[in-house]
Amino acid sequence: MLDLPRIVITGIGLASPNGNNLGEYRRNLLAGVSGVEPYEIRYFGKTVAGVCHFEATRYQSRKTLRRGTRAGSVAIYCANEAVLDSGIDLEKVGRHRVGVYVGTTEHGNVETEEQIYEVSQYGYDLSYWSHHHNPRTVANNPAGEVTLNMGITGPHYAVGGACAGGNLGIIQGAQMLQLSEVDMAIGGGVSESIHTFGIFASFKAENALGEREDPTRVSRPFDKSRNGIVVSEGGCLYTLERLEDAQRRGARIYAELAGWHVNSDAADFVLPLPERQRQCMEAALKRADMGPEDIHIVSTHATSTPLGDIQECGAVRAVFGESRTTHINNTKSYIGHTMGAAGAIELAGNLPSFEDGVVHPTINVEELDPECEIHGLVLNEPKATKRVDTILNLSFGMLGINSALVVKRP
């Protein structure tokens, strides 16, 4: 193994359906507060979604808000919050030495649907098609909007990894730091997916869109009656630094990235493959030089679909089933599936466990599906533990992409 620099998280900025900063988000996770609400979107009609309510104009003008995208706005909010939280002076780092790596599940659907609707109002005359369409729909839009907003002149790009995108943004940032391509990275993921009717319609067509009378109880991974995903928007970006740089400037360190792994099922467009998920977790543990019993929290990806949850639980059980020191939870039960943001935002919800030793539960489990049973599942009530030192964060996505990220107490 190469002797690569150690990478740490020094700042967190997030926009979650149930919190606009880490403190608020964590309080709501421990109090069982959902961020899912009634929602309506063109053509699709009434449904539910995780909707963010952060103050978009805190870091951008109304004009740039109008010109950019929702994903760009989420990214700008999160990036500014993260940099503020980190206490980093971008001038001291050198703005050309900062990289922005934003994971996304998809980007451009919102604007494309909007423009097709717009021209439909004018008899499909394409002279009404917006000149903003291309800059809004390029894949690097959210990351690029961050650089425009913050005057960052280092690299920026999207890391497209379906719903593993959030983890991949973090991993990409870490790798670029290790290679000395940059001296600070802003990495994570964002999602504007609730603004595209297509994602709701497609999940519905796959029989994978969650439904239930009470919006806050629709997303219920591991519950026997679960019936699908809740689509959500959101974002979470971290400031990442090499350990020695962070220590030199006396930074507060939230966590160290201890290891990770990314692999592909090579099996199906949509259906996950537990065997490959297991291999992904095992490879991440190996990279972190840890065994299953060294992991204190497994943050599952489970999206509340009948089959996906069972398959993931099978994979997690295969790795952690014998461990008596591992707790297992799920954050989508509160906020739905924040798509490209999921990996990053779900990790953030667990990081305060290093401070308080409490594991937030998977909520909305009225009757545990026996096929989802794993020793260590934390259900419905927070669990106080002696100490949390490590988290394994899982994020999987369509086309069979799997990611497992291990972080440890600094």
Binding site: S61, R62, K63, R66, Y122, S127, Y128, H131
Partner: protein, 90 residues
């Protein structure tokens, strides 16, 4: 629409495109871009909004006619005289 109302129509479009700007003090005779922050994409927005709100087509070679509020009034009035003023930011 009178010529003054045409200028009001353009100002209202600018209020949509550049919502952070104070348009009350605009000098009608001076170039808009010298008084407020407007780039080429913003000018395309003005052209698009004229098309959407009033059905007015401004060919590319005539964009320069939209330089100031006075020139907007002169150039657009013949095209918009028969139309009703629509204010979205009133």
């Amino acid at each position: 629409m009178t010529k003054d109302e045409v200028k009001e129509a353009v100002k209202d479009i600018i209020a949509t495109i550049a919502p952070d700007e104070d348009l009350a003090a605009l000098d009608h005779s001076k170039l808009l871009r010298d008084q407020i922050e407007l780039d080429s994409m913003d000018f395309l927005d003005i052209v698009m909004e004229l098309r959407k709100r009033y059905g007015v087509q401004v060919p590319e070679e005539e964009y320069k006619e939209l330089g100031s509020l006075d020139s907007c009034g002169r150039y657009l009035h013949p095209k918009m005289a028969a139309m009703e003023l629509k204010l979205l930011n009133a």
